[in-house]
C-alpha cells in the first residue's frame, strides 16, 4: 500500500509531491519557500495568513518532480485551519530557528501535530531544518542532532534563507529520503528486482 498518491501534474510529465513546511511563527518558513522557488529573500515580507503554496520543479535521478510546497501560519491559534492541509503530504520539513530556543523546543509539538493529522506511517520522510544560521545561534548543532536521533533518527540540516545556504540542498535531501522510502516500499512485494533503479 502506497500512501502517497502519485499525482501527475497537469501535463503528465512529472510527479507532483506535496511538501508541508511546519514550525513556529517567524522561524522563516515562507522565506525558505521563497528562496527555494524564486531564489529571493525579502527581509520584510508579510507573515503568512491562512495557507499558500508554490510549485517548483526539481530533478532527481533523471526524473522531474514538481514539489507543491505548502506554507501555513505558525501560530497555535490557527491550528484548526491549518491541519486539514496535512493529509496527502509526501514529505514534511520541521523547521526551527537556531537563534530561537522556544522554536526548537516546539519541534516535538509540530511533529506530533503533523503525524496526528496527516495520518502517516512511521516511516515518513521528515527533515528537520535549523534556519537562520547567519545569526548568532542559541541552539547548538549537537543539541539539534541529539533531538533528531531520539526522534527516530530524523535527518537534519542547517540553512539560511537569507544567504541561501543549504536551502536547495534541504529540499533535495528531503526528496532523496522520500525516494528511498518509496523505493523500499515498492520493492517489498518483489524484493529482488531492484526496482529502485527502474524508478
Amino acid at each position: 500500500m502506497n500512501n502517497s498518491h502519485r499525482r501527475q501534474n497537469s501535463r503528465g510529465r512529472s510527479t507532483v509531491l506535496k511538501v508541508v513546511i511546519l514550525g513556529d511563527g517567524g522561524v522563516g518558513k515562507s522565506c525558505l519557500m521563497n528562496r527555494f522557488v524564486t531564489d529571493r529573500f525579502d527581509e520584510h515580507s508579510f507573515h503568512t495568513i491562512g495557507v499558500e503554496f508554490l510549485n517548483k520543479e526539481i530533478e532527481l535521478g533523471g526524473e522531474t518532480y514538481t514539489l507543491q510546497i505548502w506554507d501555513t501560519a505558525g501560530q497555535e491559534r490557527f491550528k484548526s485551519l491549518r491541519t486539514p492541509f496535512y493529509r496527502g503530504s509526501d514529505m514534511c520539513l520541521l523547521t526551527y530557528a537556531v537563534d530561537d530556543p522556544p522554536s526548537f523546543k516546539n519541534l516535538e509539538t509540530w511533529r506530533k501535530e503533523f503525524v496526528y493529522y496527516a495520518d502517516v506511517k512511521a516511516d515518513f520522510p521528515f527533515l528537520v531544518v535549523g534556519n537562520k544560521i547567519d545569526l548568532e545561534r542559541r541552539v547548538t548543532t549537537e543539541e539539534a542532532e541529539a533531538w533528531c536521533k531520539e526522534n527516530g533518527d530524523l535527518p537534519y540540516i542547517e540553512t539560511s534563507a537569507k544567504d541561501a545556504t543549504n536551502v536547495e540542498a534541504s529540499f533535495m535531501m528531503c526528496l532523496r529520503r522520500w525516494a528511498n522510502i518509496e523505493g523500499r516500499q515498492e520493492r517489498m512485494p518483489m524484493p529482488d528486482t531492484g526496482l529502485l533503479g527502474i524508478l
Binding site: G26, D39, F53, R77, P84, R87
Partner: protein, 693 residues
C-alpha cells in the same frame, strides 16, 4: 540554447498598474520554441542592464510621504512593487483573458494568474495569432473576455468523452433508444420525476458511487466542459435534469407518485448601484454644530458609506467611527476624554515596560506574545514609506501599541493579523495613544476573528456558504463538487478585512466604509461574495479545483477594483433584501427581519415534509423538495449537496476542510478516489438514508 527558436517578440508590453499610484513596467513578450516545448515569456526591458536577472524592484520615488502633516499628505500605497518576469510553458497555459482589446492576462492550469499586460505597441491579436499555431482556443460562452486553451491531447480527450456518450446530446440520449424529446407538459413531468426517482433508487442502493460518481461526471463532462454549450443555452430546468439523470443512470425501477418541486427565480433582479465621491471637510462641517456635537449620526454614516472620506478628514472622523470620540460630545468634552484616555494608555504602557527580564522568565504567556509581536511588526507594511527602513520609530510605535493592547486585553493577547489591522490606523492617526484607542474600537468589532478556537472565522465561512447558496446556487454547487465549499480560500480576506488584497489607499477607503455598519451587518461577507461573483467564470470555466482556486484567489490580490466590488456588494444586498423567500439563516447574517408569517407557514410545512421523510416508509421517499435550487444545477446540487453536507455529520466545515487535503491534483478526480473511503462511505450512507428513506 542554440536549439531555441524565437517565433514571436513584442516590445513595449507593459504591466498594468493596479491603481494610480503603481507604476507600469515595460517589457518584452516572446513566444519561444524550446527543445522541450513552447514557452511564453515576458521580461522587463532593462533586464539586460539589471544586475538582478530575476525581479525588478520598482521605486516610485516621486511620491513622498509628508510626515506630521497629515492634512496635506497624499494618499499613497505600497510604492515598491516587485514585478516578476513571466515564463509559462505552453502546456501549462489554461486560459487567457483579453480586456478592452488590448490587455492580456495569462492563467495557468494550476491557478497561477499573471499580472495584466497592455500592448503599447503591436497588438494582442498578433500574439494570439502566433499562439494559435500551437493550441486550440475556445471563447468562453459566459465570459466574453475569457479564452480557454486546449492542446491536441485535450482535444482528443474531449472527443473520446463524446464518443463514450457520457454527454447527453441535445437531440438524443445515450442508451436511450427512443430519445427524450419532451412531449406535452404532463408527459414531461412524469418522465422527469420518474427519472429523478431512478436516480434516488440508485442512491439508496449504492449511495456513494452513484452520488459522487454521477455528479463528478456530470460536472466535468456536461456543465463545464468545452464539449457542448448545451446546458447554458437551455433554461428549462426539468428537461435537463431528466436528460441528465437519464444519461447517467439506468432508471430501471420507476416508482410512481413522487413529485419534484422546483422553485425558480428565488431572488429578484440585482439593481444598479451608484456611489458618491468622498466626503470633504466642508461637507462634514454641515453635520457638526458650533460646540462640536454631531446630533444626527444616521445620515452622516449613510453618507460615509456612499463615498468614504477625503484623506484629510480621516484623522478626525476615524476617531468617531472607531468609538474613540463620542459623536454627541462637545469639543471640550472630547478634549477631556482624549486626555484621560491618553493617561490611561501611558499607564498601561508602563505596565509592560516595567516587567523585568527576571519576571519575564516566569511569565511565559507574556514572553511569547512579546516575541511574536517583535517578529510581526518587522514584517508589517515595511515597504510603505511610513514603516520603511531600519530603526523606524513608527515600527516601534506599532510594537508598543500592540504590547499595550496585550496588557489591556490579556485574554485575547496578540494574535497574528492584528498588526495588519493596526498599521493603517497608526498611519492615519499619527498619534500613538489615539491609534491605540482606535485600534481598541476596531478590535471590538472584529475580535471574533481571533477566537482561540477560531469559531468566529469558521462561522463567517459558514455564513459565506449560506449567502452564496442563495445568491448563486450554481457557483455553490460547483464549489461543493470541487471540495471547495469550505470557502477556505476566503480566509485571508476575512481575517484582516481585505487588507492584504488591496493597496493602502483602497484599504483605508474600504475600512471606513465597513465601519459605518451600512447597509447591513456583515457587509464584508457580501464584499467577498461580490469578489467571488467576479471570479466565478474564471474559476468555473477553467475547471479550477480547490488548490487552483486558492492559488488564483491569492494571485488576484492587489488587482481588485474596489469601487466596482463595493457597488456589486451593495447591489447584492439590495437584491436579497428586496426578495421574498430568503432563508432565515441568511436573514440573520444580514440583519434582515424574519420572513412574513405566510411564508413562515410554508417553510413550516416544508419542515413537516422532511420530518415525514425522516421517519416514513418507502412510499414517502420521493418528496424531494428542492426549494433553494434553481434549474438544473440547483436541483442536482440540493440532492447531492445535502448528502455531501452530511458527510461531516454535525461539523460540516471541519469535514470538508479535511476533505481538502485528500483531494487530488488532476482535473476531474473526485470523491471516489479519496482516502479513508470505508469510513466516509459509511457516514455517507447513513446520511443518505436519513435524507431519503
Amino acid at each position: 540554447m542554440d536549439e531555441e527558436l524565437l517565433v514571436y517578440e513584442q516590445d513595449e508590453v507593459h504591466t498594468i498598474p493596479t491603481s494610480q499610484d503603481d507604476l507600469s513596467v515595460s517589457g518584452k513578450l516572446r513566444i519561444i520554441e524550446k527543445r522541450h516545448g513552447v514557452v511564453i515569456e515576458w521580461r522587463y526591458s532593462d533586464d539586460e542592464t539589471s544586475t538582478d536577472n530575476e525581479w525588478a524592484v520598482i521605486n516610485t520615488a516621486a511620491v513622498t510621504f509628508t510626515h506630521h502633516n497629515v492634512s496635506d499628505s497624499v494618499e499613497i500605497s505600497s510604492p515598491r512593487r516587485t514585478v516578476r518576469p513571466i515564463s509559462i510553458e505552453l502546456v501549462d497555459l489554461r486560459s487567457y483573458k483579453i480586456c478592452d482589446n488590448h490587455s492580456l492576462v495569462l492563467i495557468q492550469r494550476d491557478g497561477t494568474t499573471h499580472p495584466a499586460l497592455a500592448f503599447h505597441s503591436g497588438s494582442v491579436h498578433c500574439f494570439v495569432e502566433v499562439l494559435l499555431r500551437y493550441v486550440a482556443v475556445k471563447k468562453s460562452e459566459k465570459d466574453g473576455d475569457l479564452y480557454l486553451v486546449s492542446d491536441k491531447r485535450q482535444a482528443a480527450q474531449d472527443q473520446e468523452l463524446a464518443a463514450m456518450n457520457l454527454v447527453p446530446s441535445r437531440y438524443g440520449m445515450a442508451g436511450d433508444g427512443g430519445g427524450w424529446s419532451g412531449g406535452g407538459p404532463s408527459g414531461q413531468w412524469t418522465s422527469t420525476h420518474q427519472r429523478v426517482m431512478g436516480f434516488i433508487n440508485n442512491l439508496k442502493r449504492d449511495p456513494y458511487t452513484t452520488a459522487a460518481g454521477a455528479l463528478s461526471k456530470f460536472y466535468d463532462t456536461v456543465l463545464y466542459s468545452d464539449v457542448e454549450g448545451y446546458v447554458r443555452e437551455n433554461d428549462g430546468g426539468e428537461d435537463e435534469v431528466a436528460e441528465l439523470f437519464h444519461s447517467l443512470n439506468g432508471f430501471e425501477d420507476l416508482e410512481p407518485g413522487y413529485e419534484l418541486l422546483t422553485k425558480k427565480g428565488t431572488l429578484n433582479e440585482r439593481p444598479k448601484v451608484e456611489r458618491l465621491s468622498p466626503l470633504t471637510h466642508d461637507d462634514f462641517q454641515q453635520y457638526v454644530d458650533d460646540d462640536g456635537r454631531i446630533h444626527d449620526v444616521t445620515p452622516l454614516r449613510d453618507r460615509i458609506f456612499r463615498g468614504g472620506l477625503h484623506p484629510n478628514l480621516r484623522r478626525e472622523v476615524w476617531c468617531f467611527l472607531l468609538n474613540h470620540n463620542e459623536w454627541n460630545a462637545t469639543h471640550i468634552q472630547r478634549e477631556e476624554r482624549r486626555r484621560s484616555r491618553e493617561d490611561l494608555y501611558y499607564t498601561m504602557k508602563q505596565q509592560w515596560r516595567t516587567v523585568t527580564p527576571d519576571q519575564e522568565s516566569r511569565f511565559s504567556g507574556f514572553k511569547e506574545r512579546r516575541s511574536l509581536i517583535e517578529k510581526d511588526v518587522n514584517r508589517t507594511d515595511r515597504n510603505h514609506p511610513f514603516y520603511e527602513g531600519e530603526h523606524n520609530l513608527n515600527v516601534t510605535a506599532l510594537h508598543d501599541i500592540l504590547m499595550t493592547y496585550v496588557m489591556y486585553n490579556f485574554d485575547l493577547g496578540y494574535v497574528q493579523g492584528m498588526s495588519d489591522l493596526l498599521a493603517p490606523i497608526l498611519y492615519v492617526t499619527q498619534n500613538e495613544p489615539i491609534a491605540f484607542w482606535c485600534f481598541v474600537g476596531y478590535m471590538d468589532m472584529v475580535y471574533r476573528n481571533f477566537d482561540m478556537d477560531q469559531s468566529g472565522m469558521k462561522q463567517q465561512l459558514k455564513d459565506m456558504q449560506q449567502v452564496v447558496r442563495l445568491v448563486d446556487p450554481e457557483l455553490m454547487s460547483y464549489l461543493e463538487i470541487r471540495d471547495s465549499a469550505n470557502f477556505y480560500f476566503c480566509f485571508r480576506w476575512l481575517l484582516v478585512r481585505f487588507k492584504r488584497e488591496l493597496n493602502y489607499a483602497n484599504t483605508l477607503r474600504l475600512w471606513e466604509v465597513l465601519w459605518t455598519g451600512r447597509p447591513c451587518p456583515n457587509f464584508h461577507l457580501l464584499l467577498a461574495v461580490a469578489l467571488l461573483d467576479t471570479e466565478k467564470n474564471t474559476i468555473m470555466e477553467n475547471k479550477f479545483g480547490f488548490t487552483e482556486i486558492l492559488k488564483h484567489i491569492n494571485d488576484i490580490s492587489l488587482r481588485i477594483d474596489l469601487d466596482a466590488t463595493l457597488r456589486k456588494a451593495e447591489a447584492i444586498y439590495k437584491q436579497i433584501a428586496s426578495s421574498p423567500n430568503v432563508p432565515d439563516g441568511v436573514r440573520t447574517v444580514l440583519g434582515l427581519p424574519p420572513q412574513e408569517p405566510q411564508q413562515q407557514h410554508k417553510s413550516n410545512k416544508d419542515e413537516d415534509a422532511s420530518e415525514r421523510r425522516g421517519s416514513g416508509s418507502d412510499e414517502d421517499v420521493g418528496s424531494v423538495n428542492v426549494t433553494e435550487g434553481l434549474g438544473l444545477v440547483g436541483v442536482v446540487s440540493s440532492m447531492i449537496g445535502s448528502a455531501v453536507r452530511h458527510l461531516g455529520g454535525e461539523d460540516m466545515m471541519q469535514a470538508s476542510l479535511e476533505a481538502v487535503s485528500g483531494q487530488q491534483q488532476e482535473e476531474g478526480t473526485s470523491h471516489q478516489r479519496r482516502d479513508a473511503e470505508a469510513e466516509t462511505e459509511k457516514r455517507f450512507e447513513t446520511a443518505l438514508s436519513h435524507q431519503f428513506v
